[in-house]
Symmetry: D3
Subunit: 289 residues, 6 copies
């Protein structure tokens, strides 16, 4: 998502409508005048959301100017200036909360992701997100996860097939299911199998899965399993991506040498607090600088 | 929000579309069969989101049955069953993540709200939310806040007028602004002034504001100010709602005897982790019970 | 509503689509040329709708120029010029009817409101609208009511709570209902009770309602009741807004000294004829001026 | 419009959303109980809107029952019952205003149309509406006009071509324009020319227009012109529809013998007051009947 | 459709969203740079779609420039340049497929239409399309049909009434049906009857239909029938449009002297292959020219 | 796409709205009666579209019954019955064209796909579609392609990354680009490179692409290249999917033994004529059977 596509534009419009409702009651007469304002971060953080801020303010008034001091993914120090704004005070006030809410939330995710990614430094292991995202916000939250240094897992039910416990419990065998999927899904789509047991993982790789997710297995079990899976894949002349879940800052160290490719974790999206930013109007003195 | 209005229905549809995209790739042949499933909470929590779950699953298949074991606002103990589902396995799988994501997020908010509200027990002070809500989710998150025992602040820029630091900095005096607003906004809308100083607070009450928000003032200052504000209001034969912000579990005790009416806090919405729920298909044995 | 918010923009787009349908059939070859046009009022009126006209014509062709001679709320004399337009004749013709229909309807409301408001001159009583508005047009019609000098009542079911005859007939007592509402609605939302009898009005004020609507009571009854209600409120150290309905130009004089704060009336919105405007292309001679 | 098409359903949903907004605040605990209600007309009128009422209430709660006592176009006497409703009191209250507003407005139009149509009794002349309709309401208002006995003019810019003063002023001759249109528009679409002068009318018929609108011509002029136009058409072996505008109850008699086919008039839509209906909950006694 | 109306804009936005989905994954770092590109036709064709291309690319990036070398309806020779583009390479790549797909499809229709129209040269007979159009594409495909020299039949069920075999089988007689329709539909709407037999055709004209469609009748039968229909119409002082269907390039010659006005055929829309265009980035050398 | 998701439902609603517009004018009084109808195929074909037909007719009237005689992907013989319908004649007539247009178009695609797939019988090669799909119809057309026995290529720009000539011309080397993509796209997304030359194909596989598209290479060149690519992949312990384009029924035989995995071809979607179906009302005699 490097462009703000028409569908994103429409979502941002709805975000504004949600806050403004039938019209901002607090506007008063003096608010047509042009003023300068800026945003400050109150915390150390990884910034995210700049991509959307300009669109939000310009939608309310096309003559507004937004000048980003930070690009998405950059580090913010407490007290640092994030951006500068010039525009009619009424538009700045009506868009303020929507723009802040979005970027404070996304920066919270980027910041938490960066923290978790830092534990993986020096390894080849990547951090992936999950489909646990706030309804309506998926492309935004997954973008924030990328800004924090993570890599995205599938974006929805439609861009990769994933057999999970619930599929396996009621469906056919893993082997049959993988084969059936391969006949039906786009050839560009990967097949991943969530394995509860080493046996399931081996069956999945044998059946030709592109990836296996070792669900909440302990590091010892994984260390033994990974070379076995690589061996099966190798015989089939394939590469398999091995992913593990159930990992958090407390237990992550033990997984670093298990040979896995990926750690998938929803925490940066489902458990991270927002970063605190505030918008301030420049005092006349500041405007002279 | 006791009904699922047409606009909420449309939003829930979009939540489903976001996850399903161009179609759920993981569905396999056996997934037309009807199965029983249930949801379990993995944590102690206040439940929220039940209001929307039935709609979500029925939208995918009208023959699905959802039976809630808990209503919104009720307590969940780790391991407790939240609801039971019967329907085609394909529909249950396609709706699972959307329904879970929404209610796990909302239950996180309700749970955090309840915790914060508990500090206020034995007092007349209420806990109010703010406009810091995830874009696109406001009616849902404010509903969760109510389920946790909080009371909503204004829902948007259009249902109450609030003069904030940014308005005051560039506008007219508080007195002029309050008067101007009173001439222009619906008579049913209240006017609240965010005061940085006791002097501003007094001017606001004198000007006839319905409420004042004492922004990050210390409890000592507030204790002195509150009776002064009540006195000014009383002379005008009015009631003023006095609200304070900048309060958290660490400092809340000091505010309990200041005489304020409301504490407004965004933390339950912007800083609460999701509660962990999972959906499980009943094993054949469970189905026999 | 000082800005044209994204949601208003979308509604105006739909207004255009409604008239243009699958494309304006009447356009002919010469209609790409730029021309000048203007609008004339055929009647004395209060103008309303200028806020939306520029958006409508620019949506069809961004190079069109609209120059308003009157702002919303100003007086128009029959024959007076309202605005000037320059743009491709095709765009002017395709947008003409939509722009005229909207502003002729809104000016009708503003004009009728102004008339009714004039009866209140010299008093402190304000004229308020109701929720009787044409479906789909509420923000527009309530804006026109403001342009005519009225003040808005609540904008919808969601920004103030109002207990009406129908609620009271089937619900609990007024006292119970007001208390229950107070626990559940945003603290920023006012509670109004529609009272059919003096007894109901007193109970409502006693219960803490922010306003009472005296529904179609005669002026004598109201004159006695108002001081009683003020007294009850005063004891509770509160201010109550007293509103009366069922008032029209024929009986309004008798209400002017009853002590009420507000008259609410739907007539300016539900009974006012449109004001007649017409768009005319400048003749070559006019263009030389 | 005998069916409620998907697009009408969507518009009705938006009407509900407009009034309910973020949720009906006035609902109280007792409002889940099922009750009976009915609608009464306070005036003599032609009823219109019944087609939409059931959809509106069922959208809020599918278990609601609506039983119409009158079909659209039927006469209502003051005090007469329009319909009966059974459903959860909360749904009835939330949908009440939207359903009433729509049908009160439409019944106003149907009633005014019927009145105007009555002047034409005993003649072959029909009453047609215009494109002066409230933005967003065209299919509804034109339906109401039909219910009152009128006939619709074109529904939009796209289903018939109409050359008007503004086209003619800046375009080519009427003859050239009619020919050019004939080459470009669907063959199923008629061409109508609005004529300011008898000469324009004759040129239009000569050029093959399907209809001419004699714009605000006096009855004497029209009486002379009509046979001339019929003669020109007859030579071309065509039928031309002759329409006149600028006619109102005061001058209509003089037009009845002019030989015209149609009178087009916007007044029933742009100048008619709403008819007053009210919804009342049945008292327990009424429910026993 | 000479303007891109708001509703067309919204449809074009959705076309882009359909292809881009959650974001174009293939974009790489260098793709912010501005480049020049052009479109080439690989086949001889009638061009169509230029009207929409500029909008599509500008929606993705407002700084893009599109310079059409051909206007809709013009002839393209294989190898000929259609248009030139300058813009950020990322936007050109993200919009490429949508813009090409639309214009390749529409040019296919225009080309096939032109071919079929060429058989009618030297006659007064016109080629009309039908309602067999790809769902969602009607205004586009009917526009392409016009660009190919055809004339549109009705655009939908709402802008002309057409009695077809299925209506007649279950309804009343043709005469009754035509009369009933005349009382109910807008006076601007024509009535067409699809006749399976000469008898039905005669009844239709006698009843006052504006057009008759002779459905798959052979040329001999039509040659006899046409003068009979003209005679009936003439007696009624009316003109009737006579349309025939079931005609294709193989049998068309025999119909040219039957006296019909119109041939309606869906083939150009339902059976025409796309024309092959391709977008190429200019090499540095080309950019120097 | 085994379910009709909310977004598909919305698209089908729009298809109906497109045809019905402001209301079906052709409906007459007798059309409320319930009738039986059926669909017949006039040609041999592969059926497609049944999945959507029931939804379309039920949206217009929920009491309609649709009984499919064929499921999507099954063979139809000319004259064979496709489905039976019972419902109010008005609803059947209003939905007829939309339902037929969609399934006639999709059956055309399924039929053409099946034909092309038949050339591949006895080989391991699969037929894949492309992103050349009619705007707005992608999920439908790709579904039809699957029903004809083909396999889908990527669904949009967002579910697999594909480096094409245009990327390579202006971007970095293939190697750099593939690496950069791998760092940025979801790990579940495959990377495909469109190669114009054997050298590009080898570089792509060496760089780790998941697939290469050999663009319009002749079979001799491909036969030499395929084992080389397999060898490079094998050294990297990977599997590469080798796809060829520019293949049609005339030249396909020569490609069957080249060792490729996939043939991608847009022809079944961009060049296939619709299959002719018709809806007929049962005669009273038929209803007795």
């Amino acid at each position: 998502m490097k462009n703000i596509t028409p569908s994103i534009q429409k979502v941002l419009d709805k975000f504004l409508d949600e806050d403004i409702g039938r019209g901002d009651l607090s506007l008063i007469n003096t608010e047509d005048k042009f003023v300068n304002a800026h945003w400050i971060s109150k915390q150390n953080a990884i910034f995210c959301g700049g991509l959307f801020i300009e669109y939000i303010f310009l939608k309310l008034n096309a003559s507004t100017k937004v000048k980003l001091k930070k690009t998405d993914g950059e580090t913010l120090t407490a007290g640092e200036k994030i951006l500068e704004l010039t525009g009619p005070v009424a538009s700045l006030l009506s868009g303020e909360r929507t723009a802040l809410n979005l970027s404070m939330h996304l920066s919270g995710i980027a910041t938490a992701t960066k923290k978790m990614v830092s534990y993986l430094e020096g390894t080849e292991i990547k951090l992936a997100d999950t489909r646990k995202t706030t309804p309506g916000l998926r492309v935004f939250e997954k973008y924030a996860f990328r800004c924090g240094g993570g890599i995205n897992h599938r974006m929805g039910l439609d861009d990769a097939a994933m057999l999970k416990e619930n599929h396996i419990a009621w469906g056919q065998s893993i082997t049959q299911s993988v084969e059936e999927l391969r006949q039906n899904i786009p050839w560009t789509a990967k097949i991943i199998v969530e394995a509860e047991t080493p046996q399931q993982a081996k069956e999945a790789v044998q059946a030709g899965a592109d990836g296996v997710l070792l669900d909440e297995m302990n590091p010892e079990k994984i260390s033994i399993l990974v070379p076995q899976l690589r061996e099966i894949a190798s015989i089939k002349n394939k590469k398999v991506i091995i992913e593990a879940s159930g990992i958090n800052p407390n237990n992550i160290k033990k997984y670093l040498s298990t040979g896995i490719d990926l750690i998938s974790s929803s925490a940066a999206i489902t458990k991270s607090p927002w970063i605190d930013f505030s918008m301030r109007f420049n005092s006349p003195e500041q405007d002279l600088l």
